[in-house]
């Protein structure tokens, strides 16, 4: 009898113990079930959902909407080069006879008129003095004579050039050769100055320089003010083509969304990402070949905001 009751008590004890253990475990594990994070369903394969942003917020974020339409796209190439004198306006003056320089009347940089006397030389053979005259009007660029100097009859001693117009020689790289053509408009800039000259290409060299692998193209510059000095380093913007395309958008209107290029287009539901095919582009605009129709309202500024709104669901994942 007594033994029996003992077992009953033992059994009761075990049951109580087990219950308590389970209860305690339930307390602890139950408490870990839900730590209060509310997660939204991830939005996958839903890249085409429409985004609605209230007009007030659009203004706050600087978002602008435009109507798709034609745009004049001007394409250009940036080239570098230098100013050279116009070879047709340069005179290399060589003394007729070898002799001693008696006197020099001009200095480098002096302006001369055609027929002006630059120096007087006494011929070695005849001991007669003769005048060296300028053949053209222009500026003396080189002058290799000092009084008393013996001058031969082979090398030129004076270089006179008319710098009223000069050439800009631009180097064209192989990859650009197909697009740079005679007659294209060009803007010439000089670094460190505001001077700009607008002209047209009149020449492209028929061969490519073997050393530099570049071809040369030339523009004639009006230099009556004398700002373009031969030897000067310049860069040129050659307008290779100007085309009016049916639809073009500012470059920033195109966003890459999940590997696709898209423009955000207004629909009844809001703004939807519209995959587009791009055509030609310049610094500011890009042509849309496909995906956008004339008259469509699209986000021209602040398209990035729409992109991030679509990506919102995905980028929060590991931040929480």
């Amino acid at each position: 009898m007594k033994k029996n009751t003992k077992y009953v008590f033992l059994f009761t004890g075990i049951v109580i113990g087990a219950l308590l253990t389970l209860g305690a475990i339930a307390l602890f594990s139950g408490s870990a079930e839900n730590d209060g994070i509310i997660k939204t369903e991830p939005v996958e394969e839903e890249h085409n959902k429409a985004i609605n942003i209230p007009p007030k917020v659009m203004r706050e974020f600087g978002i602008e909407v435009q109507t798709a339409g034609p745009e004049k796209l001007t394409l250009h190439k940036d080239l570098t080069g230098e100013i050279v004198p116009n070879p047709y306006e340069v005179a290399h003056i060589v003394p007729r006879f070898a002799g001693i320089v008696k006197s020099v009347y001009k200095k480098i940089g002096d302006k001369v008129e055609k027929g002006d006397v630059i120096a007087v030389i006494e011929s070695n053979e005849s001991l007669v003095q003769y005048k060296v005259k300028s053949l053209i009007s222009g500026t003396i660029l080189e002058l290799h004579m000092t009084p008393g100097e013996l001058i031969g009859d082979e090398q030129h001693v004076v270089k006179v050039a008319n710098l009223k117009d000069v050439w800009a020689e631009l180097n064209v790289y192989q990859k650009d050769l197909g697009e740079v053509k005679i007659g294209q408009r060009v803007e010439i800039f000089s670094p460190h100055s505001r001077n700009v000259f607008r002209g047209k290409l009149f020449y492209i060299s028929p061969v490519v320089n073997e050393a530099t692998r570049t071809a040369i193209t030339r523009v004639k510059l009006d230099n009556r003010k004398g700002i373009w000095k031969p030897g000067m380093f310049i860069s040129g913007k050659v307008f290779t083509s100007t085309r009016t395309v049916p639809i073009a958008v500012p470059k920033n209107a195109v966003q890459i969304l999940n590997g696709q290029k898209v423009v955000f287009v207004k629909s009844e539901k809001g703004f939807e990402p519209q995959p587009v095919t791009l055509g030609i582009e310049n610094g500011d605009f890009v042509e849309i070949l496909d995906g956008l129709h004339t008259g469509d309202k699209y986000v021209s500024k602040g398209a990035y905001t729409f992109k991030s709104e679509i990506l919102k669901d995905s980028f929060g994942g590991d931040e929480e």
Binding site: K6, F9, L10, T12, G13, I16, G17, A18, L19, L20, T21, G23, A24, I25, L27, F28, S29, G30, S31, A32, E33, N34, D35, G36, I37, K39, E41, P42, E44, I53, P54, V57, E60, F61, G62, D78, T80, Y173, Q174, K175, P191, A211, T212, R213, F233, I256, G283, T305, F306, K307, S308, E309, L311, K312, S314, F315, G317, D318, E319, E320
Partner: protein
């Protein structure tokens, strides 16, 4: 055991002196204890940061992260290594086993770092360890206010980096001061590529030349006569002109100066983070990082003093404005618990007075509180615990329990004193003490034992709640020491004289009227229940059923969020965002928040500043919302209300994900490893594309498994890249090396540092880079000219393919491998079976390439581990308690009767939570554990007395009724002191109260039911569980 009492009473003075020593020791320990807001839950972690200028995540991973990771393998005590390779920054987190000494960890990491450094290619950055700090180390943030408006952001940053930073770093306990915002001053050499062309130079030539023309050297000394002259050659550039006049080359004797090739000016360094304020402007800010293990409150106050000093030395109109101070939090948290502690002490003393009816015995009992607390301080000091919300909270919780042992003792002395009139008082005290000594010791040991499961808690919960468990346990030990050694002595001194007075008043059951009234009210009930035992059974069953009915209704949460009192609005933007756009959006958000009238200001950090504290990319912004003082708030608005208002304002910002958080919580979350979801499948493998593809497949499979919810695959790509792939054939034609092209690309676009300019001790980088218009878009980059060795200039696009692609935004690695996480929650079914089913499904339908494998983890893994531990620890604890009970009573039946207390106590806790609308949580569970102990103690007190009465020859029924009546006072007293001691925690609303409240609720609720049980059900059931008198008499 009785010898103890004899010894104590024989050496009363000695005991008192020793007790005073303990109290003094406690006080000195208290003075040494560091003060923090919360227990530091940061993992044992060493972070290795490597800054690499301009490298994309793939290269950072390959050249930097990988070598560092590999070097760290096999460190002692290593737990795991995780890494994140971001743009320009590699962060390797090396986690050590909990409890590893941080200096040891840093030392072993440092040894291996030298190895790693050798493996990292020259110029790819130098790995550095993060500050010696933890998640709680960011103690103070400040910004520089410029009232004059004259100073540029560069100048302000220079003041921050070269004046404020150095001074603040001298404050003891400050390990680092990190600057952010504004612009770090640099000397920019802005190269015009066309000029390079003109002189046939490359941008790298410029870098070399600048480096070669900026040196000081020493040339030892010369002797002249009896003297030595030191020789030094001075050539350091000190100003812009010095740089401008560096001769780059000379053509026909004409020097070409650097100024002809480049613009040299002062500018700002490339930055990956900024700081904005109030939606108006950028500011320069700094963060003070506290050294690991130092006392937050002292460090902060020294920093404040220093800041006041610095403010005096700063230029007119500039001042430091702290915008986040952990001090406020520390103070608030400590105040919350200190208030609770003091109120608790007062309440408990009041209760004692009421029940004891006189001052002296109450005093003896009440002295137990300060004594136990002092003992706890000694223990805390020994264990290296800090004073914080949890450890102090433990004391606040234990106040009521600290007096229990002494109550029992003093009450018995008081009772016997009346009973044994005429005997020498010392003898009375001795007898009374000996009578209750055994149950007291066992009761306290049982209470301490009950906390054992808490000591096995791991991770964040362990670190949070262990200090609480420790302080309670030590304080209980203190109260035991007091009850055994000090209380008898004090009683012998203090209660004696009282007895004499009472003698005059005549022999009389001098119970105070309240107690008498209670006994009067109680008697019919106890009679009824003892007579009709089935009523007791019905009552307990009803209570149990009620508990079982309510239990499922309780919500659950892991740990209630600690309110830190500082609000952070975290903005996450698209990963590809630029800093400018990020700033624009942040300013908009700040403006919106500023519209809430209670907001005084906002300070936002975007991205990261100096490496060490934050690693956030620039698409992440953290806004500290500064609130006006409470008095200026609108009527009826509390902090939650304001949070709601702010939320309303900032919600609906396109492309912005919002998150409300708090400073410490945020930092700690960042340091902790692992994911927050219940289930996380980590897919390891090499190829990012493949990982993403397979992860998507896995997520599709998971979606079909019943119970799956919130499935989310990590987005690993999304950072646009301009990829320049050099055509090897093309460069061969021009006689170029790959490195010629890459170096040019790097320097021209990314820029390169070419030495430094010294201004006194301040040093500023010289940064060489192309002018912006020549490097800022694809077209300009295509046209960039590369100079070849044979003097040719080749546009980049002629020798390389340039394309815009989308690359990874960051690469995360674990166990030396790349991985991607698929997170998932499970609803409406058991996770174990869910995992099994999904594993089978994935095995069947997803073919993983060779070398790819999955690891299943997440919160469920932690829970499983915790459950496994508890499944062992809790039965052992119960067994232990049972043995203790058994050895105390020598009776299995008695022990079982006492154990029966536990379930009924639980019911009260559950009801308490339900009534106050709180959730089941870890602190609530801690409360249940404490409740176990208290319920057991009550049971023991009563059953011991029953046994005693039975031994004295009373019938069981008589013993039950009389015992219950006589013991009403101590039982009610211990219950009331414990419960009232907790009341302040129940009603507190200060910082940190939200963690203590569930705990207090459970204990108070549980005490209700358990006291009812002890007083009504226990006497009734005693008969069935009693030791048969004849047996005991034999």
């Amino acid at each position: 055991m009785n010898k103890i009492i004899d010894f104590v009473l024989e050496n009363r003075l000695l005991v008192l002196v020793l007790a005073l020593f303990i109290v003094a020791g406690g006080y000195f320990s208290y003075k040494q204890l560091p003060i923090d807001a919360f227990p530091d839950v940061s993992p044992a972690l060493v972070q290795v940061f490597t800054q690499t200028e301009g490298l994309a995540p793939e290269e950072v991973e390959k050249y930097v992260t990988f070598p560092v990771e590999v070097a760290m393998n096999g460190l002692p005590n290593l737990k795991s290594i995780r890494s994140v390779s971001n743009f320009g920054l590699s962060v390797v987190n090396i986690y050590f086993e909990d409890g590893t000494d941080i200096y040891f960890a840093r030392q072993v990491v440092n040894e291996r770092l030298t190895e790693a450094r050798e493996q990292i290619p020259e110029g790819f950055g130098d790995p550095q360890m993060g500050p010696i700090s933890t998640g709680m180390g960011l103690v103070l943030f400040y910004y520089l206010e410029d009232e004059t408006g004259k100073y540029s952001l560069e100048e302000l940053r220079t003041i921050q980096d070269w004046l404020i930073k150095f001074q603040l770093q001298t404050v003891p306990g400050v390990t680092e001061v990190l600057g952010i915002g504004g612009w770090e001053k640099q000397f920019h050499v802005v190269v015009d590529p066309t000029s390079l062309l003109r002189y046939n130079l490359s941008v790298n030539d410029i870098v070399d030349i600048v480096k070669k023309n900026n040196l000081n050297v020493g040339a030892s000394f010369i002797e002249r006569d009896a003297e030595e002259f030191l020789v030094r050659s001075v050539g350091l550039a000190t100003k812009i002109q010095d740089l401008e006049n560096i001769v780059v080359k000379s053509v026909d004797g004409t020097p070409v100066y650097l100024k002809e090739l480049a613009d040299i000016k002062i500018g700002g360094a490339v930055r990956r983070g900024i700081q904005t304020r109030n939606g108006i402007e950028e500011v320069v800010a700094g963060m003070v990082v506290k050294l690991y293990g130092t006392n937050s409150s002292t460090v902060i106050s020294s920093v404040e003093e220093k800041m006041a000093e610095i403010n005096k030395t700063l230029p007119e109109g500039i001042k430091l404005v702290p915008y986040y101070e952990q001090k406020t939090l520390v103070e608030a948290a400590v105040k919350t618990v200190t208030d609770a502690l003091i109120q608790g002490i007062i309440l408990v003393t009041l209760v004692l007075m009421i029940f004891m009816g006189s001052l002296r015995p109450s005093l003896v009992v009440a002295l137990s509180i300060p004594f136990s607390i002092m003992v706890a301080f000694i223990g805390m000091n020994y264990l290296g615990l800090s004073i914080n919300l949890m450890s102090f909270g433990g004391l606040a919780i234990a106040i009521g329990m600290m007096v229990d042992a002494s109550i029992v003792l003093v009450e018995n002395v008081d009772r016997l004193k009346r009973k044994m009139e005429g005997e020498p008082f010392l003898y009375v005290v001795s007898k009374a003490s000996k009578e209750v000594l055994r149950p007291i010791i066992f009761a306290i040991i049982i209470i301490i034992t009950v906390f054992i499961p808490l000591f096995t808690l791991q991770g964040v919960e362990g670190k949070t709640f262990k200090p609480l468990a420790y302080t309670i346990a030590i304080a209980m030990l203190g109260s035991l020491i007091f009850a055994v050694f000090v209380a008898p002595v004090l009683s012998s001194y203090l209660l004696k004289s009282k007895r004499k007075k009472k003698k005059k008043g005549g022999k009389d059951e001098k119970e105070i009227w309240i107690v008498r009234a209670m006994i009067k009210a109680y008697t019919p009930f106890v009679n009824l229940f003892v007579k009709k035992r089935y009523l007791a059974v019905i009552l307990s069953v009803l209570l149990l059923l009620l508990g079982a009915f309510i239990y499922p209704k309780l919500g659950s949460e892991f740990t209630p969020t600690l309110q830190e009192g500082t609000l952070i609005v975290r903005l996450s933007m698209a990963p590809s965002i630029s800093l400018e756009e990020s700033k624009k959006i942040t300013l908009i958000a700040e403006k919106r928040v500023m519209q809430v009238p209670e907001v005084r200001g906002t300070v936002t950090r975007i991205g990261r500043g100096e490496v060490g504290a934050h690693t956030d990319p620039i698409n992440s912004a953290e806004m500290y919302v500064l609130l006006k003082p409470v008095e200026e708030w609108r009527e009826g608005l509390n902090q939650q209300g304001i949070e709601l208002k702010i939320r309303e304002k900032v919600e609906g910002m396109p492309g912005v994900l919002l998150n409300f958080t708090q400073p410490i919580r945020m930092t700690v979350d960042e340091l902790l490893e692992g994911v927050r979801a219940e289930l996380a499948v980590k897919l390891f493998g090499d190829d990012l594309q493949e990982l993403k593809r397979k992860a998507d497949e896995i997520s599709l499979v998971l979606k079909k498994v019943r119970g799956a919810a919130d499935i989310q695959v990590d987005q690993i790509s999304g950072k646009p890249q301009l990829k320049i792939t050099v055509d090897r054939h093309a460069i061969a034609r021009y006689g170029l090396n790959l490195s010629d092209v890459q170096q040019a690309v790097k320097t021209a676009i990314g820029g390169e540092t070419a030495g430094q300019i010294f201004e006194g001790i301040r040093r500023f980088d010289i940064f060489v880079r192309f002018a912006p218009q020549f490097r800022s878009d694809k077209q300009a980059i295509s046209n960039m000219l590369i100079s070849s060795p044979n003097g040719l200039e080749v546009p980049l696009s002629q020798v390389a393919a340039i394309e815009e692609i989308e690359g990874p935004r960051q690469i995360t690695r674990e166990q030396n491998q790349r991985f991607i996480t698929i997170q998932c929650n499970v609803i409406g079914r058991d996770i174990g079976s869910f995992v099994e089913e999904s594993q089978a499904a994935i095995e069947k339908s997803v073919v993983l390439p060779v070398g790819y494998y999955t690891v299943w983890g997440g919160q469920f893994r932690l829970q499983q581990e915790a459950n496994k531990r508890f499944a062992v620890v809790i039965p052992i604890t119960l067994l232990l308690i049972f043995f203790l009970l058994f050895s105390s009573f020598n009776s299995m039946k008695n022990s079982l009767l006492i154990l029966l207390n536990i379930p009924l106590a639980l019911v009260g806790g559950i009801i308490g939570l339900w009534l106050t609308n709180q959730n089941l949580s870890v602190p609530a569970s801690v409360g249940f554990i404490a409740l176990f102990g208290i319920a057991l103690e009550n049971g023991m007190v009563l059953v011991t007395y029953f046994n005693q009465l039975v031994k004295e020859g009373k019938s069981i029924d008589e013993a039950s009724i009389e015992g219950a009546k006589l013991r009403l006072r101590p039982v009610l007293m211990t219950a009331a002191t414990t419960a009232l001691g907790l009341i302040p925690l129940l009603i507190a609303f200060g910082t940190g109260s939200e963690v203590q409240r569930p705990l207090a609720t459970v204990v108070v609720g549980g005490l209700f039911t358990s006291t009812i049980l002890t007083l009504l059900v226990l006497p009734a059931l005693y008969k069935w569980f009693a030791i048969k008198p004849e047996v005991s008499e034999l």
